[in-house]
Amino acid sequence: MVAKKKFLFGLKADRQIDGDKMNREFSDRVMAEGGEGAAIAACMQCGTCSGGCTNIDRMDMSPRTLILMVQRGEWEKVLKSNSLWLCTTCYICTSRCPRGVRPADVIEAVKAIAIRQGIENDSTRFNQIFVELVQKRGILFEPELMQKYGGLQAMLEQAKLGIQLTLKGKMSPFPAKIKNPKKFNEALEKAGKQ
């Protein structure tokens, strides 16, 4: 058997940005999600994004690889990667990328696609509850977020801090809300389903 050709003119073949390996379908979807992930095709695989990434040590796929996988349309790999949920949206990658690729925005768009595809874990659950609660009143009520996400256990763990905050006048037992939460909620509910 002939060994698979790994290098081509000094470039690792699997890192080459060769047109025929690109699969626009996924990139297009990421772009359609919105934001500024539009420069995916410009990635030259330099790895600068990975070099500065906050959580790269814990990620199963570096931001650089993730961009490559998006370029190639490797859906399953991207959607299954824990990198999506370890990314803190800290924009270090985006600030450093020499090609204007905006990996943080790409990851943000992929997260939204993953949630719509039904991927579930602690992070997707937290993110969805967060959005749901903001939609409900327009203003976040943190104790409710803790209760919905972590149940009684989380409430108990946070009880001491909660009491301290209440005593300092920094937490009200009653949630605040905007003037017309119903309309706010309906408009966003619809937008989120599209």
């Binding site: 934001g35 600030s95 949630i115 993110n127 969805q128 905050l165």
Partner: protein
């Protein structure tokens, strides 16, 4: 100068001292703040990762309300500032503007053509005002570690008024107040705020590194402008101490609080008594 002031969810709750000190300091410096009427949550770092349009609409709603008041929007919270500035930029793009408008119109709000600027309180304090001539009580002898985190200065095309990699604005402000600024290498490293709940261990580890460095530099306190960073660095400090069996006892103050002190404003008026990690050691060092 007059601004439409956007406090956001945190400044009305866990970061009340940031709200109080922003108002007092701005008033002292002759800046008028008019709270944005009927403001809503900006969606934080989470909403756009659930749906881009929902995240953008949440943040753009406040920008649209500020447009109605014909005033630039001023936010103290780095997160609210960043997301609002991002929305304001998106509104300059026709496609995005249409998408956002469709959602906001269902709320009975419309985006106008009146472009406003979104500013952060640190930007205004360092670039528009001259606090050095107003210092009454220099913070002589106080060693501070200025922590910028992520959203105050990144990404540069949304913020643009300070370096995304080596920002200096808070260092300059603290120096103008007479404090000694330590060389805090981790000042733009992420504290893990957005994953604090879903990946607590990771967030604690990231925050611990920041506390360790500030402590090793012998800083008397950390100074910052983000309530989410403060949640990690201050409110969760006891949890981190317990988990790693260490002791920091490191006060965390908002930049507006230390400026207020230097302007000669009484700590009580700045809300300094509202901290969970007591800033008594800081006040003692200043002889207040």
């Amino acid at each position: 100068m007059k601004y439409s002031y956007y406090p956001g969810c945190s400044l009305h709750t866990t970061a009340k001292e940031f709200d109080i000190s922003t108002k007092v300091v701005m008033e002292e410096l002759g800046i008028e703040l008019k709270e944005l009427e009927d403001w809503s949550c900006c969606g934080g770092s989470v909403a756009a990762g659930v749906s881009h349009d929902v995240g953008m609409a949440m943040a753009a709603r406040n920008v649209a309300l500020a447009q109605k008041q014909n005033l630039d929007l001023l936010a103290s919270c780095s997160g609210c500032y960043n997301k609002s500035a991002r929305a304001a930029k998106a509104l300059e793009n026709e496609t995005e503007k249409d998408r956002i408008n469709t959602i906001l119109s269902k709320m009975g709000i419309s985006v106008s053509d009146y472009n406003i600027r979104v500013r952060n309180v640190v930007d205004v304090l360092v670039n528009d005002l001259d606090i050095s001539s107003r210092i009454k009580k220099p913070l002589t002898g106080l060693k501070v570690a200025c922590y910028y985190g992520c959203l105050l200065t990144r990404p540069a095309d949304i913020t643009g008024w300070d370096s995304p990699v080596i920002p200096m604005s808070m260092d300059k402000l603290a120096q103008a107040c007479g404090a000694e600024v330590v060389d805090f290498r981790s000042k733009t490293k992420c504290c893990g705020g957005p994953i604090l709940v879903s990946k607590q261990e990771v967030a604690f580890e990231l925050t611990k590194k920041l506390l360790d460095e500030a402590k090793s530099l012998d800083a008397d306190c950390i100074v910052l402008a983000c309530p989410l960073c403060a949640t990690n660095l201050e409110l969760r400090q006891p949890d981190i101490e317990k988990k790693y069996n260490v002791s920091y006892n490191l006060p965390v103050l908002y930049i507006t609080e230390i400026i207020g002190l230097a302007l000669g404003i009484k700590p009580g008026k700045l809300g300094i008594n509202k901290h969970i990690v007591s800033p008594k050691s800081v006040l003692a060092k200043l002889g207040i």
